[in-house]
């Protein structure tokens, strides 16, 4: 078996000090293979978001290792880290809050191209157009500002921006929980198509088990800063081993009541 794309081991992170110290992550081991979707589930406060922020190098861990494609991510600094950043990107939960309200779509998508591509203005325009096409947005939206877009269109812009640097891993933090049901399937299908055409790996963070069942290859369940269960989506849903997993599945509302 080939080495995983991302390997996290023994990751520890605590916030605060003294009696107010809260352990957010308590020794997390996790692997994501190239091209797969790993769903990270758990209630709020279980450490999902902290884990994502650590992997994205937005915060520093207290201990542990993060290895991305054979490179020790925690030892990357400055220019080396900036170059690595092109390879893992993030799509945020609230598509409006994740976009600078004063920047038009054109500029939002040009930023990563400038930072990672070293492109000239002429090729950037063409690249922005092909990014819009990739996420199935009309090219005339390039001049719009975030508040002039619908929720689904905003999330497509977020996805396009994350894809601009050609990453191998996308961290998707509740990417559809702020969207309407009529748009949710569009975005999930789009993510699946992009994954297949580009061989992307997804770390899909969610508390909605119905969405997880629809998108995941494997599932990792978190509780109190630890991963308490991990397995294929089929195994986790049909034979949940941990109480937390069973509780999450049972708590998910069903359209049709059983029986």
């Amino acid at each position: 078996m080939s080495a995983p794309l991302l390997a996290v081991s023994g990751l520890v992170k605590a916030f605060g000090a003294g009696s107010r110290r809260v352990v957010a992550l308590d020794g997390v081991d996790l692997e994501i293979n190239a091209g797969e979707t790993l769903a990270l589930v758990g209630p709020s406060g279980s450490g999902k978001t902290t884990l994502a922020r650590l992997i994205l190098r937005l915060i520093e861990p207290d201990g542990g290792r993060i290895v991305f494609a054979g490179t020790d991510l925690l030892s990357c600094r400055g220019e080396a880290l900036r170059r690595m950043r092109a390879r893992f990107q993030m799509v945020f939960q609230d598509p409006l809050s994740a976009l600078n309200p004063l920047a038009a779509v054109q500029r939002l998508l040009a930023d990563p191209l400038r930072i990672h591509g070293g492109k000239t203005t002429a090729t950037i325009d063409a690249d922005v157009a092909s990014l819009l096409e990739l996420v199935r947005l009309s090219p005339e939206l390039a001049g719009r500002h975030p508040h002039e877009l619908s929720g689904g269109q905003r999330q497509r812009v977020n996805i396009a921006r994350a894809l601009a640097s050609g990453p191998e891993l996308l961290v998707l933090d509740e990417p559809v929980s702020a969207l309407d049901i009529s748009v949710r399937a569009q975005i999930l299908n789009l993510l699946r198509d992009i994954q297949r055409s580009r061989g992307l790996a997804y770390l899909f963070i969610s508390h909605d088990m119905a969405v997880v069942r629809a998108v995941a290859d494997r599932v990792a369940v978190m509780d109190h800063g630890r991963i308490v269960e991990q397995g294929s989506v089929e195994a986790v849903f049909t034979q949940p081993a941990h109480d937390q997993t069973r509780a999450l599945i049972a708590a998910t509302p069903r359209l049709r009541r059983a029986g």
Partner: protein, 277 residues
């Protein structure tokens, strides 16, 4: 933007703009209407206003044309207060953005510095500085800015602190954008609206401080200023009160105009923020 302008166009907003435009026009046309050196003797001393068509606003004790002095004074006032407001805003915005965005020890250090400046009354600070540095355009501008930069710095820091928590800042960090570029190119423009309304207060304050310094003889010695004119008229205030009153009215009108503009801008920007969803 158009909606903001529409809300700005209220009675106060229009009146302020018109009055301020008149002052600017006076400053621009000073050399046309009253060519030559306004500090030179032009006629008989102490001609009453409206009594001699060559000197519509009369002459002072040294026979200088009051109208010429007033027009050239408008120019000096606008240059000094404009430059002071600009310096104040630049310093305040830079310090506020750095303190709010970078936080930590830098924030602590910058805010304690602001405390130190705010613990001395603004005018005393300006007075002390000009007394030491000597009166000149640069020293008066610096003196006015010294006491004023803390207000925009604090307002901006508070705005940046709340904006910093928004997800789009994390998004830029994930993209690998350098922190200073995130702070000044992406976050700062979002934090500017409250500072824009503050700018009017800063300009009005700069006009008053400049006038007060000039009144005490600590203004820019190379140009006529309204403050110096008021001081000049003090000696003959019983026999020729118009010499102090005319520049005094000019100061009041200009400050009023700037405040009217500031209030209208504040209303217009604030209304945009409380729209029905």
């Amino acid at each position: 933007m158009r909606a903001v302008l529409r809300r700005f166009a209220t009675g106060g907003g229009i009146a302020g703009t018109v009055l301020f435009a008149l002052v600017v026009l006076a400053a621009l046309l000073a050399a046309v209407i009253a060519p030559g050196d306004p500090m030179a003797m032009a006629g008989r001393p102490l001609i009453q206003p409206f009594s001699d068509w060559r000197f519509p606003l009369g002459t002072d004790r040294l026979g200088r044309d009051v109208l010429a002095e007033l027009l050239h004074g408008a120019r000096a006032t606008l240059i000094v207060s404009g430059a002071a407001a600009l310096v104040t805003l630049l310093v305040g915005i830079t310090i506020g953005t750095l303190a709010g965005f970078i936080g930590g020890r830098l924030d602590d250090a910058l805010m304690r510095l602001a405390d130190a400046f705010q613990s001395v009354p603004t005018f005393i600070l300006a007075l002390a500085f000009v007394s030491i540095a000597g009166p000149s355009l640069a020293s008066v501008v610096t003196a006015v800015s010294l006491g004023a930069w803390t207000a925009p710095a604090r307002v901006l820091r508070a705005e940046i602190l709340s904006l910093r928590r928004r997800e789009f800042v994390d998004a830029y960090r994930v993209l690998g954008m350098p922190p200073l570029q995130i702070a000044f190119r992406e976050v700062l423009p979002n934090a500017l609206p409250p500072v824009i309304t503050l700018a009017a207060v800063i300009v009005a304050n700069a006009i008053l401080v400049e006038a007060a310094l000039s009144f005490l003889g600590l203004g820019n010695p190379n140009s006529v200023t309204w403050g110096a004119m008021i001081a000049e008229g003090r000696a003959v205030i019983r026999s020729a009160p118009y010499l102090s009153a005319i520049p005094g009215v000019a100061v009041v009108v200009t400050v009023l105009a700037v405040n009217l503009i500031g209030d209208a801008a504040n209303e217009a920007i604030h209304a945009r923020r409380v729209q029905v969803p």
